[in-house]
């Protein structure tokens, strides 16, 4: 631990909070971190429910060659991000999707597209002969260097994506877990799976430039996975996923602020710790109370 010389946490939480919020960059980091966490946690519940974690991983990575290519041809990196993310989402839909999403064919399509796009990224980066710093910033984000315009972009993206998510939440859950019946009930199952991937793509394209590949991916999978271990009620799990994502983001930002180590490390570590805890909980409960059968613990 190497706390900075002039600041340090105490047991006075109010004083700590004042310390945490005294700089504008930290205020912006907390605002954007919260926005991205809410969006990532919400969309993450569905990603995990649909078994599309690998697709989410791919979508959070393919933006990198897009941004590099955009710089090469002198257009906005955001445009490159959007084109690559949306293109990859459509690619998965064309090559991989069976009714309902997930599955072997999709993961093969995802792997192939991901490898190709990273190869493109390598080429663009060589042609660009840019600094490693640019890649570093892209992969791990610059959450401590967010300006007010980024805050607005994150806010608008989140509002649009969350509204879309709320609108199609029920049919999406239906199509994800029971595609054949949903189809017979008139739910546009195939269209929804394309729209969902596009939503993930737009989320990633708009937030990756602010918080980096690592953070958006971390906030899209681990909280959703942990929430589904904690409750099997869809709405409660959705809320829990959002809550966990927000909590690990705040905790990560605070601890990083006081220790001087990277934010991304702490957020991913806290997210992973919660995931581990929820996976280990049934086993721990069995060890603590040997008489308890596993089925009893499952009725939450």
């Amino acid at each position: 631990m190497t706390p900075s010389t002039d600041i340090g946490p105490s047991w006075d939480l109010l004083a700590d909070l004042q310390l945490l919020l005294q700089y504008h960059f930290m205020q912006n980091a907390l605002i954007v971190g919260t926005i991205v966490a809410v969006l990532g946690g919400a969309i993450g519940y569905l990603i995990v429910l649909r078994g599309q974690s690998f697709a989410a991983h791919m979508l959070s990575q393919v933006g990198f060659p897009g941004a590099a290519g955009a710089v090469l041809v002198h257009v906005s990196p955001v445009l490159g991000l959007l084109v690559f993310c949306v293109g990859a989402a459509l690619g998965i839909s064309v090559f991989g999707t069976r009714l309902g999403g997930g599955g072997r064919r999709e993961s093969a399509a995802v792997g192939s597209i991901l490898a190709f796009s990273l190869g493109l990224g390598l080429l663009f980066f060589r042609l660009f002969s840019g600094s490693a710093q640019a890649i570093y910033a892209f992969l791990f984000g610059t959450i401590l260097g967010i300006d007010d315009k980024d805050v607005l972009v994150a806010l608008v993206t989140a509002a649009v994506c969350l509204a879309a998510l709320a609108f199609m939440f029920r049919p999406m859950v239906f199509a994800s877990i029971d595609p054949a019946v949903a189809d017979a009930k008139g739910v546009p199952v195939r269209l929804l799976s394309v729209v969902f991937l596009l939503l993930v793509a737009v989320t990633v394209a708009e937030t990756v430039q602010i918080v980096g590949t690592l953070l958006i991916f971390a906030l899209m999978v681990a909280p959703g996975a942990a929430a589904q271990r904690m409750t099997s009620r869809p709405y409660r799990a959705l809320g829990t996923s959002v809550l966990l994502a927000v909590v690990v983001t705040w905790a990560g930002l605070a601890v990083a602020y006081f220790t001087g180590y990277p934010v991304g490390f702490f957020i991913t570590t806290f997210a992973f710790a919660i995931y581990l805890l929820t996976r280990a909980a049934p086993t721990l409960a069995r060890i603590a109370r040997p008489g308890l059968t596993p089925a009893l613990g499952a009725a939450r």
Binding site: R170, P171, F174, V181, A184, K185, G186, S232, A295
Partner: protein, 294 residues
Amino acid sequence: MAIAAQTGHRMRDSAPVQPGLPPAVQLQNAGIDLGGRYIWRSVDLEVAPGEFVAILGPNGAGKSTLLKAILGVLPLSEGAISVFGKPVRRGNDAVGYLPQRRNFDADLRVRAVDLVRLGLDGASWGMPLPFLSRFMAGPAARARRVDAVIEMVGAEAYANRPIGELSGGEQQRILIAQALVSGARMLVLDEPLDSLDLNNQQAISGLVQRICSESGVTVLLVAHDINPILPYVDQVVYVAQGQVVSGAPAEVIRTETLSRLYGTPVEVLRTTDGRVIVVGQNEPVSYHAHDAEH
């Protein structure tokens, strides 16, 4: 292909046909062409409301295709089809569907009751507010409706557990509740007894029969082995060789009818315990036709 059947007396000697009501299902000169090949054609079929209908036939003969046409998921290539006197359409709340064997992943962390609930409002856009809906009349009535069908299938004990943790028989009860919950007047069940043990086969077919007779729900049930349902069946629909033959079980499951349908000699054997075994040429005798599939 081998169908085991039973000649024993039927519990209901005639279908509870209600005069004046349109047929639950009507196909006229219907045919479906998939990729240039007719699955079946020239099909005329009528199912009266409240009938318990078994749909039989070899694998790949088009049984599921027939169900999909009735559900409105697959359009006819020719002819006409109606359900309760109206053209078929997807999302018809009068029709509850249970597709061929669905395996819910053990890691699917969604409660059984939520799955049933999706059968009621899963196709609706927009998100209800769980906290508000408790005080509103519509959502409360929907919650009661969900509870009622869960009670009807006897699934109260495990309705709050994740669907992936339930046994095959328990999952099947939940899925029947889901099919019923939207107020279905017809259940379309694609091999609901497949991969269940004998006890569960009897329990589930008894449950379906009870729903059929007590609530007047029309039942279309695709089966490999007709034995568990034969006592309840009003009409048999046999799909084979691009054709569909229907009638009372004793009329359809006969050497003459099935030989004509298959276009090759088929023998219907009667055993001393009252069962009928259908034997095709060069095929082993088997009670359980689905063994041949795996």
